[in-house]
């Protein structure tokens, strides 16, 4: 359903439920690639400045339905896609994405939208060169999240779906659905599964091995001064170093 990569660049993405450790891993990967003098760009889920005010307002007022939530997240993605990810890939940059279309396929279908419909909505995007799925048992995910944050957020916990009265129970049911959807995508999209319960260092070694393979014999855009990339989109161009806060929801 996703287009083959027709650009000179390389697209590397990480996926997984909240608390799976994927942001930590992509952060370390970014630093490694940057240190090698590669041209690297980082893009985070739900970070378009253009769509931010709408999402924030709608979340606060609880205006979302599963469909409008899904379309607006895709709008956010499309803005990043059209203004930074795709042009940079064309130029030969390595683009790292913390969450990609698969997040939408997992969450939106978990909310009840049609799987074929949401896949088609993202069909302007390309199949990543490397797609890593960080898998952890639900209890570990919940433990990591509740240890780092005061309270689960309304949509994050799937409270809009009336699955349970309290947020932790609802979160558990909703994350279970998301986990099922991710598992279905392993074969469908050729996701590489990484065991997110392994030590951070061990995981990173695996990740770097996979990426090294994917970049073998490939040059990409030169970066003689080891500089970081800025784009017309004034969004964060480097992952935040904080392991404990968790990424964008």
């Amino acid at each position: 359903m996703l287009k083959p990569n027709d650009t000179q660049g390389k697209l590397i993405i990480v996926e997984g439920i909240d608390g799976s450790g994927k942001s930590t891993q992509i952060n370390l990967l970014y630093k490694w690639l940057q240190a090698q003098g590669r041209s690297v760009y980082f893009s985070e889920w739900n970070s378009s400045v253009l769509v931010k005010s709408t999402t924030k307002m709608a979340k606060k007022a609880k205006l979302f339905t599963p469909t409008t939530f899904s379309i607006l997240q895709c709008t956010d993605f499309a803005d990043r896609w059209e203004n930074s990810i795709y042009p940079l890939l064309k130029a030969g940059v390595i683009v790292l994405a913390d969450r990609y279309a698969f997040t939408a396929f997992a969450r939106d279908v978990g909310r009840g939208v049609d799987p074929a419909w949401v896949r088609s909505m993202y069909s302007f995007a390309i199949q990543p060169d490397v797609a890593l799925l960080f898998r952890v048992p639900m209890d570990i995910s919940i433990q990591r999240i509740t240890a780092s944050r005061a309270k689960l957020k309304y949509y994050e916990a799937g409270m809009d779906l009336d699955l349970a009265k309290n947020r932790v129970d609802s979160f558990r049911i909703f994350q279970g659905r998301i986990l099922d959807e991710y598992n279905k995508m392993v074969n469908e999209f050729g996701l590489t599964v990484i065991d997110g319960t392994l030590p951070v260092k061990t995981q990173q070694k695996l990740v770097r091995g996979i990426v090294k393979n994917a970049l073998q014999g490939w040059e990409g855009l030169l970066n003689p001064d080891h500089s970081t990339i800025s784009t017309i989109n004034p969004q964060a161009s480097a992952p935040k170093g904080n392991k404990h806060k968790g990424g964008k929801q």
Binding site: L72, T75, E82
Partner: protein
């Protein structure tokens, strides 16, 4: 009462309640008199005792602020813009149109997603992609396509609200001035509408005639659809 019919999957997570209302869409390019006719039709339908709900593009609370802001800066790329409109559409469909249809209202929609498809098509958005995106859309009972050619539109707009940046398609740089750009853009739009008219079974109405004549024809077409209907909800007092 009938089962709702969608172009595609619709909203699988919603219960498929029967609908006793009617969805009537007015389509057509800018300046063709849609809003005027919508107002007249609403007044007429209410006088006939129907409960009427009207809606139109960009009226959703969800996306209004974002769309306005984006239009100010002209920073939206084609797919992003298209999705913003789709969010607006979905929000009105789920929160306004479908509930009104279930309650037996006549829903008058000043444009539907066809207008968005026409404008996106000119901006290079993949029509197949967009057709699938609007698989969420409810099939209208009647789509009235008000059609006038470009010289008529120019005459109306210049004596009315004037030519504007977006209606002239100035964002896609077709010409260096508002008039030439308007002519080129609206010509393209009409071509796009004509092909949608075949695909989606529009009823084409010649809108180059006086307002009153157009109104009479629209009434006739709408009457036919309403005659098939079960008794609809009465206008709330």
């Amino acid at each position: 009462m009938s089962e709702p019919v969608f172009y595609g999957a619709g909203f699988p997570y919603r219960k498929k309640h029967k609908m006793s209302g009617k969805l009537i869409v007015l389509e057509g390019t800018d300046g063709v008199g849609r809003s005027t006719q919508t107002k007249l039709l609403r007044r007429w339908l209410e006088a006939e005792g129907y409960a009427v709900s009207d809606t139109g593009l960009r009226r959703s609370e969800l996306t209004q602020a974002g769309l306005n802001e984006a239009k100010k800066g002209h920073t939206l790329s084609p797919i992003t813009m298209s999705l913003f409109y789709a969010a607006d559409f979905a929000d009105r469909l789920e929160n306004q149109i479908i509930p009104a249809m279930q309650a037996g209202f006549v829903v008058l929609s000043d444009r539907y997603f066809y207008s968005v498809m026409a404008r996106d098509c000119i901006r290079g958005v993949d029509p197949e992609w967009e057709r699938k995106l609007y698989g969420i859309a409810l099939k209208p009972d009647l789509i009235l396509y008000l059609k006038a050619d470009v010289p008529d539109l120019v005459a109306r707009l210049i004596h009315g609200r004037g030519l504007n940046y977006w209606e002239a398609g100035m964002d896609i740089h077709l010409a260096d001035n508002l008039y030439d750009s308007f002519v080129k853009y609206q010509t393209e739009l009409i071509r796009a509408f004509d092909s949608l008219a075949d695909e989606y079974n529009f009823v084409t109405v010649d809108a180059a005639r006086p307002i009153k004549d157009v109104f009479e024809e629209l009434k006739k077409d709408i009457h036919q659809v309403l005659d098939e209907a079960q008794p609809l909800a009465k206008k709330p007092k």
